[in-house]
């Protein structure tokens, strides 16, 4: 009787194991394709003009802080899947959301400095004030320059000259170089007598009431703006984007009136990975309200292009004042942190709750790298796409961040036009240290073996790869790599294996002939799987190589780190 029970239990367990394994296998994704990897996700077909959809701070705050976590069961049973919009090389293709820039091609210092700029900012000469606003965190104007371009002028808070404008100019360049669509933001200096009032100019006060703009309103707004001792004002001139604004994009779901928008935003790698970019640049105020969808017309097609806007609350700036010590460490209402304090009766007091003044330069604000832990960084409130970030998403983002050299970072910081060279140098150091912290944390979560390149030689092909982990660790220790080449369809059929002390493998003609015989269908014929790992480590890089015997050509058709 007892034996029967054990037998039943064993049958049950083995059936369950087989079932689980089989189910897992069934969900295994397509990892390679003999076709060229998709480099452009064409989500730019002509659509009808969508409705304008805007959310304000209150909605973003309540929805993300209270409603969403509640809907999602406070993340207890969160099932994170990998992102949809990746190609067979595990990269994000270009789209209306993202354009690969520094991650695939090293941008020159000039390109970094230029960023998205089409002009050098407002043209010299008189500026016509066409609109004023006293609502929002920072007051400002809309001005038209002599070329007819319209700019929004945003000012630094009194006492913190250069802080928010500098942060916005610098972050704009970096977000652009990362690959996001951003507006043209430039530092602009002017004098009061340059401003002329358009007789039709309107002013919206703090209560949303619209009326005619007066000289007194202009003076009142300028009174709230920091200025140089010589009376010159400094502003961030944000050029109006081309197209028609149709509201904000969200970090979850899709836009119903945009047929191009089919991938749920929380499963877009470019939005999940944005968490890491935001952590690097301390973009704590990332939310729907700081995104903008523009209905644009390009190449005869009308579609939505998605922009990140308003970087005034990045780096050390919280727009109207320097970052509080808790910025980046806790959400504005952080249930997890509150729970820790409650359970410990207040004994839990993390360093970021200190009242210590950490502002070293007023033009930089509170921007620190010593206490920065990228995996713990938090935006002002939870963002669903950020919470879905997997190690593969993070690896993708970290790889892009690692592509920024110190010179490129310096070039971006120079666009902030900080008067104090020490402040600029401090900022550069913090950005470099934060970059290194991110790369250390997230590159090492995967194999870090990447950037496979193929080169034909007389006796076969050479496969080069890069060891990002060792490269970034600047470790000169000799590292050994183990590799294994097998049939892609039948990984047990090993074609070659061994150890090398260099990031280079030679595929001899004999091996290539063996590869040509791999596979059993047209889709996998000639495809071999290459596994590489550091000796003594478990994490490995998988690459799929296709040998086209007729052309004697070896191609990379899939990769997974």
């Amino acid at each position: 009787m007892r034996l029967n029970r054990w037998l039943e239990a064993a049958v049950f367990a083995s059936c369950l194991a087989v079932s689980c394994a089989y189910t897992t296998l069934a969900q295994r994704p397509h990892l390679y394709s003999k076709h060229e990897p998709i480099r452009l996700d064409f989500d730019m077909e002509t659509i009808k003009k969508p409705a304008t959809y805007e959310t304000g701070y209150l909605y973003d705050f309540t929805n993300n802080t209270f409603f969403k976590p509640f809907q999602n069961g406070f993340g207890i049973a969160r099932q994170t899947r990998e992102a949809y919009n990746v190609n067979t090389l595990d990269e994000v293709p270009d789209s209306s959301w993202f354009t690969n820039r520094n991650g695939v091609r090293t941008m020159s210092v000039e390109e970094i400095k230029r960023g998205p700029n089409e002009t050098d900012g407002p043209a010299l000469g008189p500026l016509t004030v066409v609109k004023g606003k006293s609502n929002g965190i920072t007051p400002g104007f809309q001005v038209k320059d002599s070329r007819g371009d319209i700019y929004l002028l945003k000012f630094d808070p009194v006492g913190y000259l250069e802080m928010s404008s500098g942060a916005e100019a610098i972050s704009t360049r970096l977000f652009y170089a990362i690959g996001y669509h951003v507006p043209q933001n430039t530092i602009f200096r002017f004098r009061r007598d340059q401003l002329k009032l358009d007789p039709k100019a309107t002013f919206t006060d703090g209560l949303g009431q619209k009326r005619q703009l007066t000289e007194a309103d202009v003076d009142a707004i300028l009174k709230l703006a920091a200025s140089y001792p010589n009376g010159e004002y400094r502003a961030l001139a944000s050029k109006f984007l081309k197209g028609k604004p149709v509201g904000n994009f969200t970090f979850a779901g899709t836009r119903e009136d945009d047929p191009n928008d089919i991938i749920p935003h929380e499963h877009r790698r470019d939005l999940r990975g944005l968490r890491l970019f935001s952590a690097w640049l301390n973009h704590n105020d990332i939310r729907n309200g700081n995104n903008l969808d523009m209905f644009v017309k390009e190449d005869g097609r009308e579609f939505i292009r998605h922009y990140l806007i308003d970087f005034g609350s990045t780096l050390g700036s919280d727009t109207a004042f320097p970052n509080g010590n808790d910025v980046g460490f806790a959400h504005q209402v952080d249930f997890k942190e509150a729970g820790k304090s409650l359970i410990t009766f207040g004994l839990y007091q993390p360093h970021w709750r200190s009242d210590e003044n950490r502002v070293q330069f007023t033009s930089v604000g509170n921007f620190d790298s010593d206490k920065f832990k990228p995996q713990q960084w938090k935006s002002n409130f939870p963002i669903e796409a950020f919470q879905n970030m997997t190690d593969r998403d993070a690896y993708w983002a970290a790889k892009i961040i690692s592509s920024f050299s110190n010179q490129q970072i310096r070039a971006a910081v120079e666009t902030g036009e900080l008067s104090d060279p020490k402040a600029a140098e401090y900022l550069i150091q913090q950005l470099v240290k934060r970059r290194d912290a991110i790369v250390r944390e997230y590159i090492s979560r995967r194999s870090g073996l990447d950037e496979v390149q193929l080169q034909q030689v007389t006796n076969g092909w050479i496969v080069n790869f890069n060891d990002l982990k060792m490269q970034f660790a600047r470790n000169d220790d000799e590292t050994m790599y183990e590799y294994q080449v097998s049939d892609a369809e039948t990984p047990n059929r090993i074609l070659a294996s061994g150890k090398v002390d260099d990031t280079q493998l030679t595929f001899s003609t004999v091996l290539l002939q063996q590869m040509a015989a791999c596979g059993n269908t047209e889709a996998n014929r000639g495809v071999a799987q290459l596994k590489i790992k550091r000796t003594g480590e478990k994490k490995e890089m998988l690459a799929w190589l296709f040998y086209d015997q007729s052309r004697n050509e070896l191609r990379l058709v899939g990769q997974l780190n």
């Binding site: 990998e82 207040g346 709750r353």
Partner: protein, 444 residues
């Protein structure tokens, strides 16, 4: 039956296997990452409806990274589409600038809205206060207040403050205030520490009076004052019909039949070294007030009253953890054979003293109470606290004993702004039950 039951897991396993295999068989449309581009074979199979769609499918530059057919449909429960009711509602509210307007009203130089009750048991109320803060003379301040609650409590007052030294109300100040208040549901359980809970009754107190005070501030933390108060109080049946009427249940109480008119010269001394009155984390505070009260007219009321309020705040390593303690004393001494009107006796059992008891649960000639609070920050803007209160009313000092002390304990949360505690929710527990307390500002 037993055999059939034992077979169930095996059948289940087989079913699972079959399901898994079926899934494998049906998984031609990958739901995971890295879908392949549309193969040429599949493209041939697809129907070519229009020339345009044909162009899109065959043009490798115009393909999508995912097959739209494999994309999950948005779940309306977890994935609210733009323009949902909630979304629109909150956005409309925000666009209406209601919060900004409220902020403007709150910071209005003349009109100030007031929220909350008028003392314990009065319930939630609203009020409006007028001041002449915009006046060009900083040494003259006029004020008026009208505050009512949903339990029909009412407080009105009007006053004038003068600083004859024109020092901007810093050193010397003369205040004159007239007041009128209705308190229709004041609770009374009897006299002494052993009053019965079952004797709950209520009375209606109506008071009009004025107060003249002169305040001198010799140092930043010391205030000395002297003044004269007049009050005329009448007592009627309470309006809460669920309970007995105090005049009927306790007809012999001093002052219950005709009320009392009292003239009270008073002096006080106040020492305040708190770092922040709204969100105190460090320092001490003490207030000692003495008054001599005599009836005006035929009644024989006469007593001396002494009130003490001493507080200390100790940060425990950080201002985010504070131990706060308070001692409150209220002592009355009859003059000769005179009496004390019952509504001027010392009381315990409100949201300030014994927080687990009902408002004004204990009346006595004297009262002594102590509060201890441990306050700590949960997150910036929200704090929690744990507290315990002890106190006793007594006629003679000999009656004061550890055994006679009433104790309460509890905890709660406080919502704070940078300047003050805006709102608190406390739960207090005592031998007579549990009380939920909502209040504005910190307890002390």
């Amino acid at each position: 039956m037993i055999t059939r039951l034992r077979k169930t897991p095996v059948i289940l396993c087989a079913l699972l296997c079959w399901l898994a295999m079926t899934t494998q068989a049906q998984s031609s449309a990958p739901i995971e990452v890295k879908p392949e581009p549309i193969s040429q074979e599949n493209q041939q199979e697809q129907k070519k409806t229009t020339q345009d769609s044909e162009t899109k499918k065959t043009d490798p530059q115009r393909q999508r990274i995912v097959d739209p057919a494999t994309m999950p449909k948005p779940d309306p429960k977890t994935n609210k589409p733009p323009g949902s009711t909630l979304d629109r509602g909150i956005t409309r509210f925000e666009n209406s600038k209601a919060l900004e307007k409220l902020k403007v009203y709150f910071s209005h130089p003349i009109v100030h809205p007031r929220f909350g009750g008028i003392g314990d048991g009065s319930g939630f109320g609203l009020g409006v206060e007028f001041t002449n803060n915009v006046s060009k003379s900083p040494n003259l301040k006029l004020s008026a207040l009208l505050h009512g609650t949903f339990r029909r409590y009412l407080l009105t007052s009007a006053g004038i403050s003068v600083d004859p030294t024109r020092g901007g109300r810093e050193r010397f100040q003369l205040d004159f205030t007239g007041r009128y208040q209705l308190r229709p549901r004041e609770q009374f359980y009897g006299l002494g520490p052993d009053s019965l809970r079952s004797n709950r009754s209520n009375y209606n107190l109506q008071e009009r009076g004025f107060n003249f005070a002169s305040v001198f501030k010799p140092t930043k933390s010391l205030r000395l004052g002297a003044g004269l108060d007049f009050s005329s109080t009448r007592i009627f049946d309470g309006t809460d019909n669920r309970f007995a009427k105090t005049p009927k249940l306790f007809p012999a109480l001093p002052g219950i039949a005709r009320g009392a008119s009292l003239l009270s010269p008073q002096i006080f001394i106040e020492f305040d070294q708190r770092n922040d009155k709204g969100n105190t984390t460090k320092g001490v505070y003490a207030n000692l007030m003495a008054s001599s009260n005599d009836s005006v007219g035929k009644d024989d009321f006469g007593f001396v009253n002494l009130k003490l309020d001493a507080r200390g705040y100790l940060p425990l390593g950080t201002p985010r953890r504070v131990l706060a303690a308070r001692l409150i004393g209220n002592f009355n001494n009859e003059k000769g054979g005179s009496h004390i009107p019952f509504f001027r006796l010392a009381r315990l059992g409100d949201a300030q003293t014994l927080r687990g008891y009902r408002p004004f649960r204990f009346y006595g000639r004297n009262a002594l109470a102590a509060n201890l609070e441990y306050r700590f920050e949960l997150i910036p803007g929200i704090g929690a606290l744990a507290f315990t209160d002890v106190g006793q009313v007594f006629d003679r000092r000999a009656q004061l004993s550890a055994q006679g002390l009433h104790a309460t304990w509890g905890g709660g949360v406080e919502f704070k702004s940078k300047k003050s505690t805006m709102f608190r929710i406390l739960v207090g527990k005592s031998g007579e039950g549990t009380r939920l307390i909502f209040g504005f500002g910190q307890t002390f």
